[in-house]
């Protein structure tokens, strides 16, 4: 069953979905890094004021990985990064819920949403789709590297 999916053109659809999500999510963060830095800070997840550095770099990783997935450039690396970022978001949101934080998520498609179970599920779905892309055997519509 999974083998069929990995071979099918559904992989292309997944690439467009995850790529779109990443690009969309990166735009508002790139536009206003100060807000995103405070969102990260609220998670009490990073030491030494590193939230600013994270807020400056992470959105560009999202943007580049998103473009890579859609255009078919370094799809392996982009999918790996997407999995990594989703994993970090899932852990960050889960610990925020467990600690009872009532904070803005700074994640996903809409600004100003609070952390909650729906966000956790949303990011888990993105993680699974990224994993399927990473494991794909269908390498059609990829520009670089050519296999």
């Amino acid at each position: 069953m999974i083998d069929k999916v990995l071979k099918s053109n559904l992989i292309l659809l997944f690439r467009i979905i995850i790529g779109g999500v990443l690009i969309y999510a990166s735009i508002t963060k790139i536009a206003d890094p100060a807000v995103f830095a405070r969102d990260i800070g609220n998670y009490h997840f990073l030491p030494f004021g590193l939230e600013n550095l994270m807020a400056l770099i992470l959105p560009w990783v999202e943007l580049l990985a998103g473009i890579g997935l859609i255009l078919g450039v370094m799809v392996d690396g982009s999918a790996l990064l997407s999995m990594g970022m989703m994993a970090v978001f899932i852990i960050a949101i889960a610990q925020a819920i467990l600690r009872g934080y009532d904070i803005e998520c700074g994640c996903g498609l809409k600004e100003g949403q609070m952390v909650g179970l729906d966000k956790l599920i949303e990011d888990t779905v993105y993680f699974i789709l990224s994993w399927l892309i990473y494991k794909r055997s269908n390498r059609r519509f990829e520009l670089y590297p050519k296999f």
Binding site: I30, P33, A34, V35, A37, R38, D39, G41, N42, H44, F48, G49, L50, E51, N52, L53, A55, L56, I57, L58, P59, W60, V61, L63, L64, A65, G68, M74, D76, G77, S78, A79, L80, L81, G84, R99, G100, Y101, D102, I103, E104, Y134, Y144, P145, F147
Partner: protein
């Protein structure tokens, strides 16, 4: 070929992102410091009427918050309205709608008068978020009481219910 390695590709994307991210921040007008700085804490209460030309957000501790309360400085509750209704610092303003709040605060005491934002306690971020939003709306003398509702209640200071 090395460029086929997923880890190599991921690493390359991250490196490019670091360069672009820090580079763009260096040239944009609204850049942020590479490391986040904590809000400047108020050391002496003489400072609170000290109006410099630059808008300021500073933090106050419990005792300072209480003295400001005694001086009649306005508190703004940044929590959800349901929480506010269950109990809040006596005389505090609820945060229902941002436009409404800024309009009320402006007409009540102007944009340069001191005001204090607070939320649940040190683990919440909404007091600081609200402080920055108010600063963007033109308010110049804002204090954040990090201890918030939980420290205030624990200290047994005046509260009220809606």
């Amino acid at each position: 070929m090395i460029s086929r390695s997923p880890v190599f590709q991921a690493f390359a994307i991250v490196i490019v992102s670091v360069v672009i991210g820090i580079g763009v921040n260096a040239v944009r007008t609204d850049s942020i410091p590479l490391l986040a700085q904590e809000l400047e804490a108020v050391e002496s209460l003489d400072q609170i009427t000290n109006q410099g030309p630059i808008p300021q957000i500073r933090s106050v501790g419990l005792e300072q918050a209480k003295s400001l309360f005694d001086q009649g400085i306005l508190f703004v509750d940044a929590r959800e309205v349901e929480e506010f209704d269950k109990g809040h610092i006596k005389g505090a303003y609820p945060y229902t709608n941002f436009m409404e709040l800024t309009f009320k605060l402006d007409s009540l005491q102007g944009k340069d008068a001191p005001l204090i934002t607070y939320c649940d306690g040190s683990d919440c971020g909404s007091s600081e978020d609200l402080a920055y939003d108010l600063q963007s709306a033109g308010f110049t003398n804002i204090f954040v009481f990090y201890g918030g509702w939980s420290e205030w209640v624990e200290a047994g200071y005046p509260v009220e219910k809606q």
